[in-house]
Amino acid sequence: MNFSELLIIALAAIFVQNFIFSRFLGLCPYLGVSKQLDSAIGMGASVIFVMSLASVVTWLVYNFLLIPAQSNLFYKIFNLDVEKIPDLRFLRTIAFILVIATLVQFVEMVVQKTSPSLYRSLGIYLPLITTNCAILGVSVLNIDSEYNFIESLVQGFTAGIGFTLALVLMAGIRIRLDMAEVPKPLKGLPIAFITAGLMAIAFLGFSGLSLE
């Protein structure tokens, strides 16, 4: 595996194809939890964690259970012919969403048990995350891009970082907008969208990035 390739995946996920500014994934929490800095940071941390975890687990599910290839557990365990392995790829969506939902529940339980203080700061965001398309999105993207295990992990982790970056920057600006004479009809969500648009314009500065 090539380090510079991983770096490219990371830079793309954070800057060039930022989940918010370019891929449009995870906008609900982006707009919902960006009113305060503390919650933005908390949410960001939770998303980074869950995204990395989800990338890994869904990758494993897909490659060991769903696809008809030698990596499939059916092949390994039952010594089936590759041709005869059931092609379960059509179950991808349903499998991923269930895995993610279970995962988030599980994480919530573990965090609650092991670190009540962490739970207090992150716990409230965890349920929100299940229905966040960024998590499912990164899982599907990993598969569509035919990434291997490490690449998927890197994309999951860095996409979470990109999301957090966007979220925290937005929170900073929104606190300021709260104390600005924004024209009435634009107050609230409209100006938040316009701000996101202008931020996306700034992020165009990273477009065409290539490491050479």
């Binding site: 092609d87 059509f90 179950l91 349903i94 269930l98 477009s207 065409g208 290539s210």
Partner: protein
């Protein structure tokens, strides 16, 4: 405890029903989807290698679906040419191009299979000018030697798209380099055929 078991079994049941229903749908759509994919490739092949019309295309790639032989008759005799897929990193996507070649390595036609370049800029590699039926950028490649295609900015003959040199270069260079890579294999196949 009992409750948990009950809930889990309901959930499992629902999931199982769903999975079964989906399996049913899948058996209907799977052949359709596969046919669509095959058609996409096949149509592209026919477009870039009209000589092969009537014949079939046989996949000879090491990696599935990368390199094709084309025959002029249905019984796979009479090698008419080759086609291969070229991949080039453009401005914002990896551009995938099907390239048709005659036996001398001259391009018979190209077709962009996939690109996500900027609309209005890089995506002009697929632009069809008013009153024309084929994309002008791709038409330029006809009858050029695949080994020597280059854009005007690199002293070549392919007129690049204004403001989208990167995309233009990506297509052109991917064809040239792709051809260079498969050339030895093509020569081998041609030799084998002549024997």
């Amino acid at each position: 405890m009992r409750n948990i078991i009950k809930l889990s079994s309901i959930l499992t049941l629902v999931t199982a029903i769903a999975a079964l229903a989906l399996a049913g749908v899948n058996t209907i759509t799977k052949p359709l989807i596969e046919e669509q994919m095959r058609l996409a490739v096949h149509n592209a092949l026919l477009e870039v290698l009209p000589e092969a019309s009537g014949g079939v295309c046989v996949d000879v790639g090491e990696k599935k679906g990368e390199l094709f032989e084309a025959y002029s008759s249905p019984d796979t005799t009479g090698l008419a040419g080759f086609a291969f897929k070229a991949y080039g990193k453009g401005y914002s996507s990896t551009i995938e191009t099907m390239v048709g070649l005659d036996l001398n390595g001259n391009i018979k036609g190209i077709k962009i299979l996939f690109q996500q370049e900027t609309p209005g800029l890089g995506s002009k590699i697929e632009e069809i000018k008013y009153g024309k039926s084929k994309p002008w950028f791709q038409e330029q490649f006809k009858n050029k030697n695949a080994e020597r295609v280059a854009v005007d900015k690199d002293d070549g003959e392919i007129k690049s798209i204004t403001g989208a040199t990167i995309s233009s270069r990506a297509v052109t260079n991917s064809i040239r380099n792709g051809f260079k890579k498969i050339k030895p294999r093509l020569e081998k196949i041609i030799k084998g055929e002549q024997k």
